[in-house]
């Protein structure tokens, strides 16, 4: 069985700027896989390379065993591509959009008709089939796009920032339909996102930073590597408490935003110890898992939603791409 996606030593430049830098990884068949990174991290370029919008410059990549430099046509037939800005035609009806798209993929009329009805039902738009797309909400348009891209039963669905521009309701709808489609057809799902909670829905994530891989693994696994659980103590005298904890237990708590923060594995065992040791100082004590943002900070030394450096890169990327 081929890997759903295999990338080896892929580098991509826009002029002098390196957007993707010597990237190698594999996505297994059947996975939900997310490329997570802030704007300018290279994930959009990677999406364009994998979707065959732009040709490979250096390195090799294959989608479902089809080499992207030698066998583009086969790769295109094997995958479905969902764009960030929907590729639906607003002047056409929902059904017409699916119809034309199916013919682009060479589907026979009978199969196309049954597949169209099946998918419109699957994304909850059967009653809107005759409506022009321009009358639909953003969330519905994204679902039309999704149905459209599943018509030819792709074994891999590639999505670029699927939740961007959607309100939370439409977002969870989209994921609901996405997981339903996945259960029906066993499709591999690969997405790019800059949203931490969206990446959290993936089986595995690749964290991108400046065109390179900063981390790769299951979200829980990555969070575990950061240093276990985060214990946050709200107190009136954070500085003194932090020193006291340090003296007593030999650990190094930090003071963050007026609270004492301690990262330790098996965090739940620390709670009774801390409360019993400093009953007068603890106002509230909470136990939390580290977030993917903590992972990003730990791996790159940068904040996820960046400083001035990052925003300059963003401007450049949107200009050059």
């Amino acid at each position: 069985m081929h890997a759903a996606i295999s990338i080896q030593g892929v580098t991509h430049r826009y002029g002098a700027r390196v957007a993707v830098n010597d990237l190698s990884l594999e996505v297994a068949a059947g996975e939900v896989f997310a490329f997570l990174g802030p704007n300018g991290s290279g994930k959009t370029t990677l999406f364009r390379l994998l979707s065959t919008l732009i040709p490979l410059q250096r390195g090799a990549a294959a989608v479902l065993g089809c080499d992207l430099s030698r066998n583009v046509a086969a790769a295109r037939r094997a995958m479905g591509v969902v764009f960030q800005s929907p590729s639906v035609d607003k002047k056409l009806t929902v059904a017409e959009n699916l119809q034309y798209h199916g013919r682009l993929y060479g589907l026979a009329a009978a199969e196309l008709a049954s597949r169209r009805d099946e998918l419109l039902a699957a994304v909850g738009l059967a009653d809107r089939a005759g409506d022009r797309v321009e009358t639909l909400s953003g969330g519905m348009r994204r679902r039309v796009e999704l149905a459209k891209c599943m018509l030819h039963r792709p074994r891999l669905l590639l999505l670029d920032e699927p939740s961007t521009g959607l309100d939370p309701g439409a977002r969870s709808d989209l994921w609901h339909y996405l997981s339903r489609l996945r259960q029906q057809d066993g499709t591999t799902i690969v997405l790019t996102t800059h949203l931490l909670d969206e990446a959290d829905r993936a089986d595995r994530i690749a964290i991108m930073h400046r065109g390179a891989l900063a981390a790769l693994g299951a979200p829980d696994e990555l969070r575990r590597e950061v240093g276990g659980d985060a214990i946050t103590i709200e107190t009136d005298r954070p500085g003194e408490l932090a020193t006291a904890i340090s003296d007593r237990f030999g650990v190094q708590p930090a003071v963050v935003d007026g609270a004492v923060r301690l990262e330790q594995p098996e965090g739940h065992q620390w709670i009774p110890r801390l409360v019993e040791a400093f009953p007068a100082d603890v106002r509230t004590i909470t136990l939390g898992k580290p977030t993917l943002e903590d992972v990003f900070i730990a791996r790159t030394g940068h904040r996820f939603f960046g400083g001035p450096n990052d925003s300059r890169e963003n401007a450049q990327e949107s200009q050059e791409e």
């Binding site: 919008l53 732009i54 800005s85 056409l92 013919r103 993929y105 060479g106």
Partner: protein, 285 residues
């Protein structure tokens, strides 16, 4: 690329027809486009014909040129929608579909050319109703076939110009400094056979389309244009201008008209395919 074309050739026709059909559906859903492409040439036809009345040029004289102008306008406006397709996102789905790039070009061109041909036929019907068509049925069939080839050539020309454009704004400049002069210097408006102008007219491929249509489409002399005075139709100036300058005999031979127009269409199709074939980051908006 060759392997890609070979694999996809057999299965590309449904894609081509789907894209062409989409052009038609979109066109007829936007009423202003229907009237826009037809209205201006008809107004020009009326004004020129009335303005030059009393001289040698009449409604019948300006008819083939106006017909070509309708083909030109409709073809151009149909293909610059590729700019919209790109900006609205539709194009990206076509670009990553298994349909090869040449199928995308052909779909767009066939769709646009069909729209242009339909508009041209509508105007031909208007001409036949008001002037009375005197051509034989084979000549009418030949005129329609020539119109179809011209429509393909002009849509492909529009595609070639529009493919790399980011917005329709830039297109107005192309329209006024290139396309309109090309039409003016095609024998549509004045014969122009002398001096450097004559050279441009001779080198202009559109000249042969206009000439072919002028040959095939003849109108009953007796049929008066509403409000026109028949006594003014062949006035004194006829003797002043050499007959050869405006007469049918002075036009290029039918075979030349066909060869040049077919070559024009072929060259433009190849140009459109070549410009769209390269995958670059410029394919994105």
């Amino acid at each position: 690329m060759d392997a890609e074309v070979a694999v996809a050739t057999a299965s590309s026709w449904p894609a081509i027809l789907a894209l062409a059909q989409r052009e038609l559906v979109r066109f007829f859903r936007q009423r202003n486009r229907v009237f826009g492409a037809l209205g201006q040439p008809i107004i020009f036809w009326l004004l020129f014909s009335e303005g030059f009345r009393g001289q040698q040029f009449d409604y019948a004289y300006f008819f083939p040129g106006t017909l070509v102008m309708i083909l030109l306008f409709t073809a151009i406006f149909a293909t610059i929608t590729v700019i919209e397709d790109r900006n609205e996102g539709f194009l990206q789905a076509v670009l990553v579909s298994p349909a090869p790039r040449w199928a995308m070009v052909l779909g767009k061109v066939l769709g646009g050319a069909t729209i242009a041909l339909l508009q041209g036929m509508l105007f031909l019907a208007l001409g036949a109703a008001t002037l009375g068509l005197a051509s034989s049925p084979p000549d009418v069939a030949a005129a329609l076939a020539l119109m179809a080839v011209l429509a393909v050539a002009l849509t492909a020309l529009g595609f070639t110009i529009a493919w790399r454009m980011e917005s329709t704004h830039g297109f107005h400049a192309v329209m006024s400094v290139f396309l309109l002069p090309m039409w003016l210097l095609s024998g549509a408006f004045f014969p122009g056979r002398q001096g450097w102008l004559g050279w441009i007219v001779t080198l202009n491929p559109l000249t042969y389309g206009v000439a072919g249509l002028r040959r095939y489409l003849r109108f009953a002399d007796a049929a008066p244009v509403p409000g026109a005075d028949p006594s003014l139709k062949r006035p004194v100036l006829t003797d002043a201008l050499p007959q050869a300058a405006t007469g049918i005999d002075a036009l290029p031979a039918p075979a030349v008209c066909w060869i040049v127009t077919l070559a024009f269409a072929l060259v433009m199709l190849v140009a459109a395919w070549r410009i769209a074939a390269a995958r670059t980051s410029g394919d994105l908006k």
